[in-house]
Symmetry: D4
């Protein structure tokens, strides 16, 4: 898959510097560490521009700690999402430079703070209850090298709060809209700007919100084009997508 | 139930002018015509302020014609919704003053054109494909005596089309918002005005509109208060509700 | 948007009393306080007839307290819904005239007790378990200046409880129907009256109630016209809509 | 399973009148005719009190004809539901005493017209569009020997049409309620009577009826007890259940 | 509604023994006690054959106690469903003859133990985890005067457990089938008997049981006729329906 | 991926018989024909034991013909599913040995009729309307070399039709159960046998079948273990899975 | 049903060694122990190849213990799934050779450790959070005599972790794929192998996973054939199905 | 909103070159043409980088023609989606340079063919039946100035068709994945690349595809990050989003 590596290997085989069985082995092996319960994908940064991210729910505490420790040996910036405080306590002991962001429920190790990207990411929320998801998005995008602006509590029930900050919208290179209830904010923002909008539905609202189903459908059906959607409450996914859009393909591998 | 009528009846019984069995019968009878296949509810205008309305789908042609003929003997204004052109052809023969509104798919007999109501009803659509539903709402409200204004194709993808007509919004006494796709328009309008908003989701849109489910959920979850919702594509219901809100209780029975 | 204000501003600019950059700024600014985590919408009462209402779930305690404090400086009547008792304890410390309504789970500050509206709002529940939602509706409508009557536990399983109170129905100017289980009460009430009915489905009932989905669909499909629906368990929304219908547009801004 | 038959068979074996292999075979065989594409269940009337009924959709025309012909050899009363007119044309040729009920979409052969049952079945519909389902129910119940009364178009939008026929309700031994839209009629009827109510949701109505899902949920959640539900538009199932309730177990096998 | 009562009243009016206004009042009043938070329906036993039943969830403790106390003054047999042990503790203090059935989660007062009904009700469960629902059904039916048999843990995964008890099926006059997982038992039982089957889906099972949705749909779609369905986990509703079927209309009012 | 092929290629490179760029190319190329609109996967039989199958809906007629022609050059047995008769007409012209199975809606080319597999596959249907799906399954399994037995119309409404054919169940090595309505047959069969059961829900039935959703959920929730499920109406998928189970891994590649 | 047994019984009757009534009884009795609350199905191992398995949720502790004790008297290998630690504590007291597998939440008694089956079962998970379900599958299959291999955390986000273990796939006789999130792994594995794949969706993931609905639909719609699906989180069901596929019908009864 | 325009206007007012009422008017007017049935949004290209696009379903033919004619006066590139051939026939008459793309069901006017954007967009489909959606996406992106590459029929059932074209993936700047059935392709592509992936679910597949719901949920739950989703079958939306990502903000307004 890595053409250069394959070419080099073939030259080594031709030159007799590498045995055939070794070559077979190498051709079938890609760089990951097998911890038994997990295969830590060290190839991911090379391939995708950012190391594997740890989604904590459902994982045993010792597994999370071990995966983070293993990643931290080879990577600069590491992210664990949906982490409870007790997880951070355990991680902190083996990785003293880990930090905890309580509102975003994230553990981060942020060693490489170089900026990348063509411009700024703007994160907008409809309400105050959408902040945890928004902060997760912001943290993710910053860890990937993007600059982030925030415009919180600008829902359409008081649309002047959005229209009055029109310049923030115009300055952004990518916009993330985080909204629960009916999620109408995504369409309205989408109709105002000339940059991509990533919409994140949240599970905030009365009964017929159905844990985020209502804003999810709203956002998928946006009458404004230039809007694409990620999973309910998935701040991480939105921040990741926004950062990816914000950088060139070349920057992605720097 | 009709206190005065009961009081009169009791006085007649006391005065010996009415036999007991007759009184029992009357006390249990309310004014409707039983056609066998249908019970035409002539009491409805007295009770509710507007005669029974005929929803055509699933009814046999001869039944529709007979019900309209029966109603037309005692009522001024009559409405049949979701009527195909061939239904109108048959009705026209027995009721020459019936009119057909093709876009709204309605047959109307409009003999009493007196205006009632505190103000105007404004009907807004998000797009051009929402017109049939909007026209059904307009026709219903007008038949009930309300004045109607229209602001069509003012969806949030180009929000200046709405904001630029802010005065129409301010002049309305009740607003009906008809929208498909994601239905965000209802929330935005709701956030701008101080009058009740009746929201009608339509089944217009791409796959995840799910025949109107998406805008239905959007409208039910409106972050702006003062928004209530009727059934998918139910222009009649919205026009009826708006007309009811627009008149006083006393006008309703005039 | 506020034409008079724009006109005055332009006159000031022409008269040289206001600099151009100042005018630009003013034209883009609308009255809200930016607390960082929230934009308190002081314009809302002007625009919509009632100040911003605080929906507590998902908001940090200190945020709720700060928003209420900020609102209380400029507004008379304030409402916080779905507030747990500990929220009230914290609010009470900074706003001594705040009151707590336990059954409705609301905190209210009620300084302006003037009545507004054309008539009375009647709130009907199908059962006793629907009381919290009904009380939230009542409290909201009263805070907005409407008089409220209550007819509780009048579900269709014993329809004489409803029919025997027919005069309460006839006296109402707007009716709010709160019902769980199958929510049939809304259609029955709708079929009896000549005033608008706002229906609120509740999440009360056995399994196939599906957290309020069953009565929600029932109410949206009401065979009686003149019924519109708000979100599941959303007593606040119903009370707000009813109060809006109950007053004239002019009263709304008093 | 048929104890007497097993006992007799064992006695025959003991007496040497039946060989063991024959007995094995008999013990494993129950009376049905295997047509290859269908196994006509001639045991059903013995076991269940009514012969197998043919649900036509999805079956080949020649299969329907052959099954009916086969049944007619051993049974008196035969029913084919959801039959298009062309099916009847084909059946008529081989079974001249077959009749077609167009509204109910049923083919019947009705040779045994004896009445069975403790009383009458009352079939109520909410509207005129529910008639095809109601007629299917009536036909089924009559074919099984029950007497049927009908009260059509008595929906809750004009509840006096129901209350004014209270004596029909009181005379019934079982009631079938057929309703589309929101299906509230089932709960209202359930709350008025002391006999079992079988509720049939129909797919009649605006968008959020969702092909009968709305009245189905309504009926399942009925706040009145004594209501049980059959499938959407399943008039046959309701008529069958009602007839079963209306007869004694002993009558069922007559 | 009560013809005799109306007739007597009219005679009293004619005889001058009752004033007109009194008569008006009586004609509009039906027997229920208004406790403010609840309208206790004392007419229900007369009308429906069994007093009002208290569904406890969502009701305040003092309300439950007061309703039970109020009912116990005029009724013999009283039932409160879904009652937690602490509810019973409170009820016990004011109604010493109340009993608690822990598995069924019911409080009962059982003063009239006369048997009514044409035969026996058989309650079958598919598994052991369906017992609470089944016991609620059994208790309800017994309180209404029916005899009840039980066949527990006879699911189709080991169908001989059902077929081996064929005589219990044959002896029953009505059958209640309680099943979670896929709920196939209802169809199988329905195919074997000649009496009505009431099916109760339960919320027992793996993920795609979706809290009882899977067996609910199974039972509604039963290929065997003579099966009708009540709400998920609604043992009370099934027991009530079965008892109603099991007695004659006349017995219902004894 | 094909280790031997890689080993050979590396040996050729070492021996200088193959240039490095050629090797790079080969290592990245797998055998498929790129027709532009389609990539015909000639590797599939090697990898999976059966050639690519053409699912016709949504494909242009000329594309289907071209894909079949291309496949027929290298494969013996070819299958096109959900093919309308006009598709067959077009295919027949270029592939004269193609056959059409109308009930199963399939086009087959069956050149290799060798039998493979450990035993027989038994295909059971609940009703006659399930035949098209069952026949698709049978045809697929036979084309893959399995012997197929059929037991049609053996639904649980007349369970003796199933129990009376117990020996067919006992002789099967794999069983496919095809059922619509409520789909209970899968659980019942699953509870009787010691071989794997593949369940196929069909979209046959009344309204709450919801196009196959009801039997799908039934089968997924089967209380009998040893049952796995394929897509609604997917006879092909069931036949494929059954044939795969019926043969050894080694046979699969013969 | 057991032909040999029936034949023997008939011979005994003929020989006069067995009385008719005894024979009747035996013919209707199959081997299960009736504990009242449960019918322990001792026939199941004979009929299906593995004894009844205890699904613990919803069952009373004493019932679980009693069922296990009863089973352990006649069976070698016993399995109780979804067992909390306190259940094991109670079981351990009466069955000292019971073992607890905490990750799989299973209690097992494993007395017969003979291997059966044509090859190996490979269990693959997409992530680390899928381990509990995977371990339940593994335990079940091993208890039934199959050899199990494991490839954990090989999801498609890093597909080289799967492709790099291609030989494990090739060695397997049956594959179980356990995946949450979107569940795409099942299709990818299905496309690579020539053996049956059993797919298990898990409830792991963000909001729109909807407790496993997303991967459930994914797996049912697999574009790769040879994939069948079991219930959400149902590791037991997958392990059982895989073991059944892995053995011959004859081995199943050993 | 357009700061420069406002500034200029204010300077004109100050200079007395513009009257106050004129300025008020201009400040409230934004450039759209009101056709009565539609408000053609000529501001959209300025604001969003591409003119309004016409979604044809539900619009009257004369409306479509008129909107296109109106747009064509001021815009270079115009797009009408989901256009039936007869629509094109009518458009062609008034706009002779309009072209029809039958597979994509689009009418385009393509006068400005300048390329914009940082790189190429790659459009991948899982199957051949996904082509109409993919072609709509391609056409949209090209009309907006992007270069487009296509990789069709590369679904995961034959993953070598994807992996063998790894270089196409590596060359793309944005990737659009179009897939029906289970939609797994989006996750697999997402896991391989370092650029944003826009996923489009299609309604292609067997029953449990549920008109695109299955791949929609799959794509929203993608375990690979960097994937965002648009509406079912919405090729236009995907092409638009991809083109937006592919260009700089500045290019968007060129």
């Amino acid at each position: 898959m890595d053409i250069e590596k394959i070419r080099k290997l073939l030259e080594d085989v031709r030159a007799g510097e590498k045995g055939i069985e070794d070559a077979v082995l190498e051709l079938r092996r890609l760089p990951y560490d097998d911890l038994g319960f997990a295969k830590v994908d060290h190839h991911r940064r090379l391939r995708r521009g950012f190391p594997e991210v740890i989604y904590c729910p459902g994982k045993a505490l010792e597994h999370i700690v071990e995966i983070m420790r293993n990643l931290s040996e080879k990577e600069c910036n590491i992210l664990a999402t949906r982490a409870e405080p007790y997880v951070f306590e355990a991680v902190k002991k083996v990785l003293p430079d880990a930090e905890y962001h309580a509102l975003a429920r994230c553990i981060v190790i942020n060693r490489d703070r170089r900026r990348r990207g063509l411009g700024k990411i703007l994160i907008i929320t409809a309400g105050t209850a959408d902040l945890p998801v928004a902060e997760e998005a912001a943290l993710t995008a910053e860890l990937m090298g993007s600059s982030v602006d925030k415009l919180y509590d600008a829902g359409v029930a008081g649309i002047h709060r959005l229209l009055g900050n029109r310049d923030m919208l115009d300055e952004a290179n990518v916009i993330v809209v985080v909204a629960g209830m009916e999620g109408a904010l995504a369409s309205v923002v989408g109709g105002l700007v000339r940059v991509p909008v990533i919409a994140v539905p949240t599970s905030v609202g009365y009964g017929a919100n159905f844990q985020g189903l209502a804003p999810l459908l709203t956002m998928l059906n946006s009458c404004a084009s230039g809007v694409a959607v990620v999973n309910i409450d998935n701040g991480f996914g939105a921040g990741y997508m926004a950062a990816l859009i914000n950088m060139t393909k070349e920057e992605a591998l720097k």
